[in-house]
Amino acid sequence: MIRVQGEDFDAGAEIARFTSGRTDIGAVASFLGLVRDERSPGSPGLVAMTLEHYPGMTERQLSDIEAEARRRWPIEDCLIIHRHGRLRPGERIVLVLTASSHRAAALESCAFLIDWLKTRAPFWKREETEAGERWVEAKSLDDTAAERWNDGVAERWNDG
């Protein structure tokens, strides 16, 4: 399931909902992303981060990413929540949850989802610092992280 929203979310409640009343899930992996103040000594502090997105395309891309994860790993359940709007340092941005009977499937699919989301979901961050505003540039490191999923991970699972 995917949710794109301005409001905050409760990671613990989502994890609890994932497992409540079920006895077939052995593993839940989660990734929580937060607004981080990268303040280094002498640099201007972060006041807020505004996430702009492309309504419609965001939902479509996140649904595609979820479908791809389900195709590659035997996951029982999957949730992606991504916020947009103006967020303060320390606020939650994104939650990815995956549940599986297999530990490795839950962990790997969770890492896959956040890596792919970072390079495919149409969100853009604008930072407000004490020195002014700027659009955050994409990191080539994110592309590298996403590219490592282009190998034979799916095959390994489809055999098992």
Partner: protein, 83 residues
């Protein structure tokens, strides 16, 4: 044709969304960009460095060589920075 701009492409063009009617010889995304650049200095500036511009046609990522037609929704934006 509906054209959308996000992040600094929106800031530079000064518009988030516009409906345009390019001539019939605008067949691809690349053609469309060349045609849009002539709409004004903001548009020209937005498309000055295509290495940092991404495009989606009907909400799916597309190449500059992709065909576009009058009913399409075409969006321009920088590389994404979500998550």
């Amino acid at each position: 044709m509906k054209v959308l701009y996000f992040a600094w492409l929106r800031t530079r063009t000064g518009v988030g969304e516009e409906t345009v009617s390019p001539p019939a010889d605008v067949r691809t995304v690349a053609d469309l960009i060349e045609w849009l650049k002539r709409r004004g200095p903001g548009h020209a500036e937005a498309f000055a460095d295509l290495a940092v511009v991404r495009v989606a046609v009907n909400q799916d990522y597309a190449a500059f060589s992709e065909r576009v037609s009058p009913d399409d929704e075409v969006a321009f934006f920088p590389p994404v920075t979500g998550g």
